[in-house]
Amino acid sequence: MFSQLLQMPLFWATLTIAAFIIGQHLYRLLGNSAFLPPILTGIILVSAVLEATGVPFETYMEGGQYLHLMLGPVVVMLAVPLYQFIHAMKKEWLRISLAITLGSGTTVGLAVILADIWIGDLAVTATMATKSVTTPVAVTLSEQLGGISALASAFVIITGVFGALIIPPLLKTARMDSPAAMGLSLGVCAHAVGTSRAIELGTQQAAYSAMAMTLTATLHALALPWLV
């Protein structure tokens, strides 16, 4: 009976939802700490079950694909916040555009160069290029770039957790921790995880972070396919 269960696509879809809900509860339990986003818990739990049962990823995906299917509409949905941010950034559009373009270019450029020198695997380097893009876009984009979508997701989440950890003390030490600078850096370098950290720091930081995250994702999604 157990082995039949493990072959059932519905079981894997159900397990994924359960893992996500556990992740959400754990996140709340830890006071919405940016360091354990629900998605990370969800991935770890589902991966652990796959490892323990020895079920191949392909079998899992027969159920997982039903949730995966929603990624498309969710990416299209980014137009809604983007439209609001375009209004909000009118006042400082040049400064914000420069900060986003150069800031994200620096971090991604450096990561790509280091990966190329150090690891030298084309697929890994292509995946590295999507590291500063919010996860749904990174996953979609990495497939297009000849990268590995599962790896893209891992890079993005790890960057997010690192960024939430490193950026606030870094900018404080450098005395560049105005709400706009802090929010924008978190959004550009640490996207969604950075934004949840920015929410803890203040509403202004949160607004800048969410805007920077959306704009960076759009910019990279449009530019990277032509550059890689």
Partner: protein, 110 residues
């Protein structure tokens, strides 16, 4: 539900355009730009889109879990390069964040 239909229609349009012109940009991104263009032309966000956005946004991480679990297929790569990848991800953040913050603070009046 109208909001979801709008999203799906724009997604289908984006995918069609991507396939027709074999563009390197993903269809969903083209769909997003089309929707953005539509919103700019319209001058405001229809309430159906605001509603679906409120419904789907909290679920976003859930939709990403399946593809992310694919990390179990990358064990060999991670065993070999895991540490290097972590170092690259951490190190590359620092100049990026500083450049961003510098531009945001540069000659700022207030």
């Amino acid at each position: 539900m109208t909001g979801l239909l709008i999203l799906l229609l724009f997604l289908v349009a984006g995918n069609l355009i991507q396939a027709q012109f074999t563009l390197p940009v993903p269809g969903s991104i083209i769909g997003m730009l089309l929707l953005l263009f539509f919103l700019v032309l319209r001058g405001r966000t229809p309430s159906s889109l605001t509603d679906i956005s409120k419904t789907l946004s909290p679920l976003l991480p859930l939709f990403i879990i399946p593809v992310s679990v694919g990390i179990v297929t990358q064990k060999a790569l991670l065993e070999e390069n895991g540490v290097a990848l972590l170092v690259i991800l951490a190190v590359s953040l620092i100049p990026g964040a500083l450049v961003c913050a510098f531009i945001m603070n540069w000659k700022r009046k207030s």
